[in-house]
């Protein structure tokens, strides 16, 4: 067990781990000391001078981010003198600050605004013309730089040197003409560049996607897990429903990393962050029967119709001619109901879990995994890997062609997209095709039955990451129309099947 160090901050007894600074220990305990340059992953250069505390027995005030916690240390961050020093550091940060909060995306979550209200509230003594610098510099595909708003905390340059190790940014010049900028000939286009908008404590680096879309105080925040790959990065989903006319009507405004030292630290990759911008497009909300009498259905009647169809074709044809195509985006809850329905009740044999070709992507040492679905591991954990071999896309196509497969149940996958034009012919040969998913895709229109499922932000659930860690995510948005979670759809079908589908 590492030694714990007992010290006092503002009269409150706190414990630090060996080697921790006063600021780190305070943050861990939820005691706030103002800070800009310190970042729990990026270190403590000690340049913003915001975290000044008084220490008993030491004449000079100290910066808490570089003050090692020692046994018996008594520090004050809220004393009049400490507050004065912090407020003064803030005042100096704001001397040349443009204060364009009304048009600044950071407004509402800005370190300058927050501390001004917490510890500032001084009348401005600045009578000089403010220094000006470059504004609106698109420094990469995702990030906009405003040099006037920059407080030179060096978080961004530390990120590109320590985390992405891509070194695109530097601080150029000296003294008050110093500015953050691109290294000549470079663009801020590393696969983690979106994080710079998060590490920047002010509005100097903002997200180009999010620019002018919605005010942050109209957003709701929900803890979630990124479904972009099998890493399972902890995120916050920021959703905009209070003012539906903002953010161009899109409910999902942005995704932000949620600190989890065991999985993703403080970061997420750009693919995950920007991959869900079109969360609400192409969505399904109605339960449909598209073949024969095409019409909208109620859930209970559609379940019965499908169960009847199953009973009929199973009576006429080989049951193992029914194949299931499912995606690794299902939650553990979904997988359980899935297994209960297709494996235990229907006793099916043909499954395809192989990702679509474009779901296999780049992998790197930081976060990104090759496997661009979040939860194949959750399905495998239920035994599919051992008991049932997943087919390949080509093999399935071959079996449909050979007439061995007469029916297909597709869960959130797009065979037509994978197979191209040949796919249409294949799918049209089938006697029975169910499509279930949050989005229609290309396949949705060819299905005999089309069932709307919720997307991950619209349900509670769990994913199992590639390391076997099970993580929960919360519902952030209401389901669209009649959409139901996949597990509920499977459960309804299973009940209908067991009941004989009303036969």
């Amino acid at each position: 067990m590492a030694k714990t160090i007992k010290f006092t901050l503002d009269g409150r007894p706190l414990e630090a781990r060996e080697g921790e600074t006063v600021l780190e220990a305070a943050e861990r305990a939820g005691a706030r000391i103002p800070h800009y340059c310190w970042h729990r992953v990026l270190g403590n250069p000690g340049n913003c001078r915001m975290c000044i505390v008084e220490v008993e027995g030491t004449p000079k005030p100290q910066v808490a981010c570089r003050l090692p916690a020692r046994e018996g240390l008594v520090a004050r961050s809220a004393s009049a003198a400490a507050r004065r020093a912090q407020a003064s550091a803030l005042e100096l940060h704001l001397v040349d600050h443009p204060l364009d909060c009304p048009v600044c995306d950071q407004s509402g979550e800005c370190g300058l605004q927050d501390y001004y209200m917490d510890i500032g509230r001084y009348p401005s003594a600045m009578r000089e013309d403010k220094a000006h610098a470059a504004k609106r510099v698109p420094i990469g595909p995702h990030i906009m730089l405003d040099q006037e708003r920059c407080i030179l905390c060096t978080r961004c340059t530390r990120f590109v040197s320590q985390v992405s190790k891509s070194h695109e940014l530097g601080i150029f010049g000296r003294g008050h003409s110093e500015a953050v900028g691109l290294v000549p000939g470079r663009s801020l286009d590393n696969p983690y560049s979106g994080n710079l908008a998060d590490v920047c404590p002010v509005g100097a680096l903002t997200d180009r996607d999010f620019r002018f879309q919605v005010r942050v105080w109209y957003l709701d925040e929900t803890a979630s897990i990124c479904p972009g790959c099998s890493r399972g990065c902890a995120i916050f989903a920021h959703t905009s429903t209070q003012r539906p006319w903002h953010n161009q009507g899109r409910r999902l405004a942005r995704l932000k990393p949620r600190y989890n030292p065991e999985v993703n630290g403080a970061w997420i990759c750009d693919e995950g962050r920007y991959g869900f911008a079109e969360f609400d497009s192409d969505r399904l909300g109605r339960v449909m029967r598209l073949q024969g009498t095409a019409a909208e259905r109620r859930w209970d009647s559609v379940s019965d119709e499908i169960a009847v169809a199953w009973h009929q074709v199973v009576r006429n044809k080989r049951p193992d001619g029914l194949a299931v195509v499912a995606s690794g985006s299902l939650s553990n809850e979904d997988w359980k109901a899935f297994k209960s329905l297709f494996v235990d009740a229907l006793k099916l044999k043909r499954f395809l879990f192989t990702p679509e070709p474009d779901q296999v992507g780049t992998e790197d040492e930081l976060l990104r995994r090759r496997d661009k679905v979040p939860n194949l591991a959750g399905g495998m954990a239920l035994g599919f890997g051992a008991q049932i071999e997943s087919m390949t896309w080509d093999a399935l196509a071959g079996e449909i062609e050979a007439g061995k497969v007469w029916g297909l149940y597709v869960v959130d996958r797009d065979p037509l997209k994978v197979w191209g034009e040949k796919g249409r012919e294949l799918l049209e040969r089938l006697d029975f095709l169910v499509y279930q998913g949050p989005r229609k895709g290309l396949t949705g229109d060819l299905a005999h039955f089309r069932l709307p499922a919720t997307a991950w932000l619209e349900e509670d659930g769990h994913f199992t990451d590639f390391q076997g860690r099970i993580q929960g995510y919360r519902r952030a948005l209401a389901p669209l129309g009649a959409a139901k979670p996949d597990w509920a759809i499977f459960a309804g079908l299973e009940a209908a099947w067991q009941g004989g589908g009303g036969l």
């Binding site: 000690g46 550091a89 000089e128 110093e178």
Partner: protein
Amino acid sequence: MTKLLTAHFDEPKLHELETYRRLGGYEGLKKASQMGREALMAEMSKSNLRGLGGAGFGAAMKWSTVPAEAKNPGPRYVVVNCDESEPGCFKDRVLVTRSPHQLIEGLLIAAYAIDARRTFIFIRGEYEVQHKILQKALDEARTAGLLGECAIDLMRGAGAYISGLDTSLLETMEGKKAWPRQPPPFPTVSGLLGRPTVVNNVETLSMIPHIVMRGGEWFAKLGTAKSGGTVLFSVSGHVEKPGVYEFPMGTPLKDILAAAGGVKDGKRLKAVIPGGVSTPVMTADELDTPMDFEGPRAKGTFLGAGGVIVLDETADMVSVAHNIERFLAHESCGQCTPCRQGSFWHERILERGLSGGGTADDLATLERAGENITGKVICALGDTVGVVTRALMKKFPEDFKARFPERRG
């Protein structure tokens, strides 16, 4: 009056090895290696030699904090800080121009003391002539076999004042932006490339051969109780004979002024900046101050690097403040916000005062902002931003009231 560093400055060819040796040069190096490290360190501690680059840290004390080879195996370095850029200071330039071998000898003794095989002389980029002189002296010493196993490399600065501060000098040498480091660890523990490094000023190192030759006690006695030996003053401003003057530590300020021929054109003395622009001003009433590391401190200022700037009755202290703050704003490394923004803010307020737009409110702002910068930044440059103007305001309130009047009506 005893002179050490400048004793032979009358010799026209002192910068040449032959002359330097004829006058007893490099005997100290020989003697030091005969004495052995321990005896050398003992003489150094007795000498009360203080760091003459401005900080005044005990030289022997600094050396003794280098961890023993057994505790931290690997290379250790000595770096000569010849990045003299403090306005008002030019004694290192004179020392290197006139007596480069004195510095090289001191450096070699220091390297021997801490067992460094590699040393560097970091010279201000603008000192082109001095760079050539040093280069030539080094070649001479090398050819004469005086360097032994010790390598001396010359490195040139690129024009940043802040590189003269030991930790930013090390950053510069490593090819990085000249942003001061925040000790701990101190350079003697983790300096150049993370290795134990002694950074000493030119003048400090130049003293060492004399300590070795004459003994630490003799050296200490030249000066005062805590500041041993002599010290060079660069005297400039409104004096008849500006130049570099060597005096024993503790010499009253008025003697130094007298040596420089007194105030120019018979004008009345108004103020003296004792140790380069980053030291707080003294008034004409404070000329009795003994100039060692302790004397000016009792008057709220510092010996600094001995850059005595003399100001006569025509000086407008607002203009003086503006001049200094403009310099600091230009030279702030920009790392800490209070220094970067505070210096520039000072410059602008003072500028407005000079151009007729000042009010008494500005004085309150300068007072408050200055107080909140000092002691709350990484290095001494930032401390200076708050200190110099406030000292000028305190000691010459009339000048400031004239430029920053109470608002009328």
